[in-house]
Every structure is written in C-alpha cells, then in structure tokens.
C-alpha cells in the first residue's frame, strides 16, 4: 500500500462482499454566497484517483443547494487559481471562489 499524503484505504460494501479500493480526500472550501448556497463552508470529499477540479464541481452541483452555484465558478487549488482540468493528487485544499469584492 502506497503511503502518499492524502491517500487512505476505504472499504466499500459490494454485493459480492468487501473489497479494498483506494480513494483520495480533498478539502473543499466554500465562501460567502456559495457557503450560503450549500449551507456549509467546508466539505471533506472522497474522490477517485485522477479526479479533476471539474469532477469536484460536479459533486458540488449534485448536492442540496448546488444548483445555486454558477456553471463555471472560479476555483483555487492550494491557494492558487486553477482550471477545471487541474488534476488532484489528494490532500489539496480546493476553494470555490465567489465573485470577489475587496476594496
């Protein structure tokens, strides 16, 4: 078993019995109007290896209140603006950034 940061072993129940599969976890941060929309400001998400920012957004859209997010919100991975195709390794902080309003 590889001991990469952010990876852990997750047991999934299947009809055939129990199997081991590897997933990774990312921390999703929501702010301002987006936190209001989903009713929370932080979510721990277990996602499949090779997942991208787009996959994370898809998961968020499917959550209660996720339909209130815009179709292409800004996203930052580990405090840097990222694109939808940005691949995740696990352990990242994925922030969904509402329209900024500093000043």
């Amino acid at each position: 078993m590889r001991a990469a940061p952010g990876f852990f072993v997750c047991v999934h129940a299947r009809r055939a019995g129990y199997i081991l599969s590897e997933t990774m976890t990312v921390t999703v941060l929501l702010f301002a109007s987006y936190a209001d929309a989903l009713g929370k400001s932080a979510i721990e998400l277990d996602v499949a290896p090779g997942s991208t920012v787009r996959d994370i957004l898809g998961t968020l859209f499917a959550m209660p209140g996720g339909d209130r997010l815009p179709p292409r919100p800004l996203v930052a991975v580990n405090q840097e603006y990222a694109s939808a195709s940005t691949a995740l390794q696990g352990g990242e902080e994925v922030a969904v950034i509402p329209p900024v309003a500093g000043g």
């Binding site: 209001d36 209130r68 997010l69 800004l74 840097e80 990222a82 509402p98 329209p99 500093g102 000043g103």
Partner: protein, 172 residues
C-alpha cells in the same frame, strides 16, 4: 513592502510613516471607504470576509508585481475585515518613492488588482434590513450566479486591462 488583513481600525498616518523616509519626494494614499448607498439602496454597513491564506498570498503577489513594474518597493496594503460602518476605511494603500509618477502608478495598480483578484467578499447591509453579497467586476465575476452588484467603495477600473494584464484564472 507589507500586506495585511486586519480586524481593527486602519491607521493611515502610521502606514504613511511606515513606507516613507527622507528619500521619498512623494507618498500616495488610496483609501476605500464604506459608502452610504449602492445601486440606489441606502446602506448601513458592510461585512467583509476573506479566504485569508489566499488573500494574503494574492496581496503579496500584487505588491511584488508593483515593485517589478514600477520600481516601488515602499508599498503597504491593509484590508480590514469584519463589520464596518459608513465612512469606515476598508482598504488603505500607501506607496512612496523619490518621484510621484511611480508612486501614483503603483498605488493605482495595487487597488485595481486587489479589486479584481483578491478573494475578499462583502455582504452589504441595507437600511431596510435586507443584506446582499455584492461583487466587483473582475476575473470570474462575469457569470456570478449568486450575488452580483457594483463595486461598493469605488467605481471600477477605468484602466484598460491591457495595461495591467493578469492571467485569467477562470475555470474553462
């Protein structure tokens, strides 16, 4: 050069003293203040919040870019968070330089970039008891599904984007 998010009153005099010395023939100051009306609605105050770690990182990047572009390393940027009342200073930018042109350019650059890319949000509080998230016009602010409005403290940049281009971080 220093940037900070603060939870207290911004002391403008202290900031001027911080960046200036006898070599500076110019010190320029920009203050963003809470305005009493936005889009025709009377405002009582603004609640500012931020993605602190990223906001400080972006503010630092902006200050570094100002130093590179204009040769102005005597620059301080403070943005206040929390609930502010009318007239309160929400952001202060002070630039100092031997000559006025670089100080003016660096100050203008810093506020325009801050308004476009630093993850800070404001919840406007209105006289009628309602509240609303408002947005500046900047990257990612074109398709705001929730909360769209005008910049509160200052009309948006009249500077063409081509003068101060930044990477478009929007998700494609």
């Amino acid at each position: 050069m220093r940037v900070a998010l603060v939870d207290h009153l911004i002391d403008v005099s202290a900031l001027i003293a911080e960046v200036s010395d006898e070599s500076c023939g110019a010190a320029t100051v920009f203050l963003g203040c809470v305005r009493n009306v936005n889009a025709g609605k009377p405002v009582t105050g603004i609640e500012y919040s931020a993605y602190r770690s990223m906001a400080e990182r972006e503010m630092t990047a902006i200050a570094d870019e100002a130093a590179q572009r204009f040769g102005v390393s005597r620059l301080v940027v403070e943005h206040r968070l929390g609930t502010l009342g009318l007239g309160d200073v929400s952001v202060a930018i002070v630039a100092a330089h031997p000559h006025r042109a670089p100080a003016l350019d660096a100050m203008r650059f810093a506020i325009e970039q801050l308004k476009r890319r630093v993850p800070i949000w404001k919840l406007e509080l209105y006289v009628d008891g309602t509240r609303e998230w408002v947005a500046n016009s900047g990257i990612g602010n074109r398709e705001s599904g929730i909360g769209n409005g005008e910049a509160q403290t200052e009309p948006m940049a009249s500077i063409p984007n081509s003068r101060f281009p930044i990477p478009d971080g929007g998700v494609r």
